[in-house]
Amino acid sequence: MYRYDEQDHKLIRERVAQFRGQTERYLAGELSEEEFLPLRLQNGLYVQRLAPMLRIAVPYGLMNSTQVRRLAHITRKYDKGYAHFTTRQNVQLNWPNLEDVPDILAELAEVEMHAVQTSGNCIRNTTTDQFVGVAQDELIDPRPYCELIRQWSTFHPEFAFLPRKFKIAVCGAEHDRAAIRAHDIGVQIVKNAEGETGFQIFVGGGLGRTPIIGVSIRDFLPETHLLSYLEAIVRVYNQLGRRDNKFKARIKILVKALGPEEFARRVEAEWEQIKDGADQLTPEAIAWAKRFFPEPVYKTVDAAHAGALLRDQAGSNKAFSRWLERNTFPHRVPGYQAVTLSTKPTGVPPGDVTDRQLEAIADLADHYSFGEVRVTHEQNVVLTDVEQEKLFELWEAARKHGFATPNIGTLTDMICCPGGDYCSLANAKSIPVAEAIQRKFDDLDYLYDLGDLDLNISGCMNACGHHHIGHIGILGVDKKGEEFYQVQLGGNASENASLGKVLGPSFSREEMPETIGKLLDVFVENRQPDELFIDTYNRIGLEPFKERVYAKAS
């Protein structure tokens, strides 16, 4: 993975010192609340319902075991002994003291971590597919480009005070596991007819109050021009994006207002002026960035032997076979598999991990996966490079620490925001809804029979839980001070991205598990063999679901 050099270290240390000064000035009353706000946000610090919240950046979701151990230590020393993995592949602390934040940042800096631009109206942490480098359907590994984008966007002097936050995601595989069409800019790595690497560029996606699926404004951008093209897009946005109304300030509103063709025309005109400038990614620069992501030293394994062993182990152990089926992912190197550690056992808020679990993750990464881990946008953790022969051992260890729940990709592997339990913007709680649904659908055979199904829950329309792009989405709404839940169907985060449609009137919290049950019944009764929920929905539409759910009891 990318390692800091002296310059990175110095810059991040200077940032910590700057923020320490700002915090001191704020506590001494020299910096107003209003002035401190964007400064603390650009350092990841929110002020929340119960305490401040600190969002720590995990660039494109990648961490090494030393960093994970440091996080464990920080949660113990400065917080309540747990942390939260987010849909933006970052880590959040829910209970730090404001006074301690400069010290936390200093401790993070020692292990090449920070909280820069994890919030605020600037370019946020770039995200990507958690299986980069190992997925069989990957065309090109996005990490070197993500790192170049990280460096380009970090402390970008022109774009630190944009009209609104700005999110970039990169995908290098056929299957979009990074939800790039739900981002302000989505970068899809492609090859042209001549076999040259380039990028398809999507803009104007985003969730929240006005959910929109991004549109492609360029089919093939040559590799050299990635940064200048991003710069052109953000520059057009910085000049023309609305600043009079924060709900209309996102780039998606500008793209919609101008129309994608006109927006693209302006970007191209801006880009023409800068494309041959200093930001060009020379072959040397690309080669340099790629050096940080070398292929690990894989063993040459007897794949036939490893496969036979696995089949044996799976054959004689139902629980292991279930886990193997759901929580591992094929690897492009024979004899290896990627493993997802589930943070979604019933009764634990999705994405929450304790300090002990963090340490266990670090140990497992060291033992089984070259010391690296990935955070997924579904709030789980991935070890990408596990030898098949070691899977059984790893499974037993993961089980001991409580993250071997064999539910990846199923209904109970839901995305869920912190909701009313922690978040001061919430209209409703979301964690108890997740838990109630997990409790009702705890029969694994049934879950497996349903197949891959994305259930996403947000506690308000800010959509931190991605409810718009869940096959089933749940949104907390407030009706005269009471918490209700709206259901949406048909959202999709993948390359066939779509936004869910509202089913109808909302439900009380008690009604939610049963309502989900009725939706699933309609699916099971209508599905063709092996059809997934989203495909059945796309075939039969909203109506049959609606009829069942709102049918009068006879």
Partner: protein, 185 residues
């Protein structure tokens, strides 16, 4: 560039006694001209001395101001883009860019474009409600003067100019992004 989106209503920039210029606190030698409403302004009716005119007025009068070329600057409001000055920037001694609110970051782009696209070499001055913590970013976007109107001591501002000693990306002060410097090293 066609007309950008509306600006939020913000206070108009002030004329502080002293400004920060090229790393030192100096007397403010320039008078920023505010227009109330529909005054009829002509080249003759302008006061004497160094003046910073609002963009619209300057566009209107520029043909008649040749004789005062070295004492007439222009200020851009945040909804006015650098291309409205364009190559004429080369001839101007001073351009000011207004921050109606420090969170309105449009002038950062204006600064870079004036310096890097339109060849402006004069004094580039931030006016209005920017804050001390933005000084390094402003400097990187080409600003060398700051008409600070907040209530913190100027000496503190000087400290903030030193917040960062290096940078990742290319801008006005550093023409090579870090990846180039590293890859070429």
């Amino acid at each position: 560039m066609p007309k950008p989106a509306k600006k939020p209503v913000g206070a108009q920039p002030e004329n502080p006694q002293r400004v920060l210029c090229d790393g030192a606190v100096v007397e403010n030698q320039w008078q920023l001209l505010q227009l109330g409403g529909d005054e009829d302004v002509s080249a003759e009716s302008l006061p004497a001395g160094n003046l910073i005119l609002p963009l619209t007025l300057w566009l209107e009068l520029r043909g008649t101001l040749q004789a005062r070329k070295n004492e007439i600057g222009v200020w851009l409001d945040s909804d006015e883009t650098a291309d409205l000055i364009g190559d004429a920037a080369k001839e101007l001694p001073l351009i000011a860019a207004n921050f109606p609110a420090f969170t309105d970051g449009r002038a950062f782009t204006a600064g870079r474009l004036l310096r890097q696209r339109y060849g402006f070499t004069g004094e580039l001055r931030a006016v209005g409600n920017f804050i001390r913590d933005q000084l390094t970013y402003l400097t990187r976007c080409g600003f060398n003067a700051f008409a600070y109107q907040g209530d913190q001591p100027m000496e503190g501002l000087l400290d903030s100019l030193q917040d960062f000693s290096d940078s990742y990306q290319a801008a006005v002060d550093q023409t090579q992004p870090i990846f180039r410097r590293r890859a070429l090293a």
